[in-house]
């Protein structure tokens, strides 16, 4: 089953105690009157594929730039191996960036771009050194599958090729942390899927810690071993992808990750992990995500938790509004007395049909209602 919040806190503490980890402690950053980051703390375990997920403008790229040293935080600290690196300029940090729009040097060849990191601060001099660099560049070219393109200029590359060059340029210095700033969002859909697998393979092959900044939840959940979800300059939740999907800690997390139905409810009695709720007259229990007894609440039901049942064992029934073919199943939206619900069905059901549905007694998760959570809707 899922890790409890306590277990999770422990695992995070363990991770930060490990050697060579990177931690962000209470970092705050303002741009004029806009707060980009407010009191953000995070620990990135060594060797992990760490996802930093959030809607655009949530501060994730600012956090990446602070890690790289391109931006200074207004408060808080960035630690590497337990020591502050805030005073270290970007060129002396053992972190490298793979840029969203590649940022390849247009006046240099592919080879020269990749070799750049090995030749800075006068480290490219001498014949032996140059041979060594050529060897390392060859290794990089074959790692990312670009053998034979070394003499090309960046303007002669496709998007996918350019991002591979950007990736090898960032990896050649063997960084302790690779910062990937939306590396796939400038690519076509097909290229993007290939590059996803490529990134995973390279991360496993090298064992380098990857920090993937993305607004794409599929990308974050499918690639990362751990994901930090950000919203409005704050961390909403840090968890493995399964936990993030199955037990989103906040209503924002629940809405942002995956699909689901959100029902306006009233919380009644909290009993241990669960709370009894009432949704439009129907009473059932749901996992308690910090609700106050007697207050307005919102219940999340994932589509796969809702089943079509026979009349006798149903919790409610509704009219099918839409039916969308997903390949292996159909996604239905139905209108019920409790609100709009979203569920999966193995066979097609025409719109207008009436069906009875049910779910496990405690399948839902109950959140305190926020301003936007008062209405019942399916997202």
């Amino acid at each position: 089953m899922n890790a409890s919040p306590k277990e999770f806190a422990e695992s995070q503490a363990l991770a930060s105690a490990r050697a060579e980890s990177v931690s962000v402690v209470g970092v705050t950053k303002r741009f004029g009157s806009v707060v980009a980051l407010s009191d953000v703390s995070l620990s990135i375990p060594e060797g992990s594929f760490f996802g930093l997920l959030g809607p655009s403008g949530c501060g994730k790229t600012t956090l990446l730039r602070i890690l790289a040293g391109l931006e200074r935080p207004d408060g808080g600290d960035v630690l590497f191996n337990g020591k502050s690196i805030l005073g270290t300029p970007p060129e002396r940090r053992p972190f490298n960036i793979c840029f969203q729009r590649y940022a390849l040097f247009p006046h240099l060849t592919v080879r020269e771009n990749i070799a750049f990191g090995l030749t800075t601060r006068g480290r490219g001099r001498g014949r032996r050194r140059r041979q060594e660099i050529a060897q390392r560049v060859d290794d990089m070219l074959s790692l990312v599958g670009l053998e034979g393109l070394g003499e090309r200029s960046p303007s002669q590359l496709s998007g996918g090729q350019a991002q591979r060059v950007g990736l090898s340029r960032a990896l050649i210095n063997q960084p302790r942390l690779l910062l990937l700033d939306e590396p796939l969002s400038a690519l076509d859909r097909n290229v993007r899927n290939v590059m996803r697998e490529e990134l995973l393979r390279i991360q496993q092959e090298l064992g380098t810690t990857f920090l993937l900044v993305t607004h794409d939840q599929d990308e974050a959940l499918s690639m990362s071993s751990e994901v930090a979800l950000m919203n409005q300059g704050r961390i909403e939740q840090v968890a493995d992808p399964e936990t993030l999907y199955q037990r989103p800690a906040t209503l924002f997390a629940a809405r942002f990750i995956g699909a689901g139905s959100f029902l306006a409810a009233r919380a009644h009695r909290c009993e241990g992990e669960h709370v009894s709720v009432e949704v439009a007259g129907a009473r059932f229990r749901a996992l308690d995500a910090g609700v106050v007894e007697g207050s307005a609440a919102t219940v999340l039901l994932r589509p796969e938790e809702i089943r079509i049942v026979t009349e006798g064992e149903s919790r409610t029934s509704g009219i099918v509004e839409t039916s969308a073919f997903l390949g292996s199943s159909y996604e239905l939206t139905i209108t019920t007395p409790l609100g709009a619900l979203r569920l999966r069905s193995p066979q097609p059901i025409p719109p207008g049909a009436s069906i009875a549905i049910g779910w496990e007694e405690t399948a839902g998760i109950c959140y305190p209602s926020d301003d936007s959570g008062g209405r019942a809707d399916a997202t």
């Binding site: 490298n96 800075t120 303007s155 350019a162």
Partner: protein, 271 residues
């Protein structure tokens, strides 16, 4: 698309109107006769020999070259530095500075020359080639700043950040990334400054004192006599900027050969 014939004729006439006098001047420079009238009397280099033998011409040419080279070099340095401040240190006062740096474009050279002379005289500095160069710098720097600023704006800041991230300090980043991307624009701007300075006469007249530049030499010579040696001088005046342009092209080519794919700033966004 085919253009209607009358339009082609108009454009042809315009080009003839623009270039015919230049061609006439160059042709007469090689005329062996001593009057400026047709028919031509024969091909000869006698006017070039006469001009080259004239110490006044040689001094004027040397002075002009000296002033033009220093103006070109100086504007390249000052223009690049100013462009950096304007583009990379954005702030309200800097934006105001940028506005002021462009203003001299709208000042007539006559006014610049006269006010420079007043200022120079008031500060007790002797007029010399130095003051001429200062005058040329004042007039030409705004143009150079505009050219280099436009180019620097097109250089993606992310390229410089990428260089820093890969271990280059601020100076190395400038030398290895920013400067190579700026070089064509800076060279072009320096060429512009050279060409301007080489045939400038208004500001020069106010600020030159005893030294004569090539344009001043021509004007003073014309006041005395009109013979084909004027055309020989004009031909030289025509050739020098061309030679400078050719030199600049050759050097840029060489820097391009060392670093392929110039110009495409922003980093290969072709998909």
């Amino acid at each position: 698309m085919r253009f209607p014939r009358p339009l082609v004729l108009v454009v042809g006439a315009l080009i003839a109107f623009l270039y015919a006098p230049v061609a006439v001047a160059v042709v007469f420079a090689f005329n062996s006769g001593s009057t400026l009238s047709v028919p031509l009397q024969g091909l000869s280099l006698r006017w070039f020999r006469a001009v080259l033998a004239d110490p006044g011409f040689r001094d004027a040419l040397t002075n002009s070259l000296l002033v033009a080279v220093v103006t070109a070099g100086g504007t390249a340095l000052i223009g690049t530095a100013s462009a950096f401040v304007i583009v990379r240190r954005r702030s309200r006062p800097v934006a105001a500075l940028e506005g002021f740096s462009r203003l001299p474009v709208m000042l007539p050279p006559l006014l610049i020359g006269a006010s420079l002379l007043t200022t120079i005289a008031a500060s007790g500095v002797a007029l010399s080639l130095m003051t001429v160069t200062v005058g040329h710098l004042v007039y030409v720097i705004p143009y150079v700043v505009v050219v280099v600023v436009a180019r620097l704006r097109s250089v993606d800041l992310e390229l410089e950040q990428a260089a820093r991230d890969l271990g280059a300090g601020p100076l190395e980043t400038f030398r290895r990334v920013t400067l190579p991307l700026l070089t064509p624009a800076v060279l072009g701007a320096a060429m512009l400054a050279f060409a301007f300075s080489f045939d400038e006469i208004l500001i020069t007249t106010f600020t030159s004192g005893l030294d004569s530049t090539l344009p001043m030499f021509i004007v003073s010579k014309m006041r005395r006599t009109i013979d084909p040696s004027i055309n020989a001088v004009a031909t030289v005046l025509l050739l020098v900027p061309w030679i400078a342009l050719a030199l600049a092209l050759v050097t840029t080519r060489r820097s391009i050969a060392r670093a392929p794919a110039p110009g495409s700033a922003g980093g290969g966004e072709s998909a």
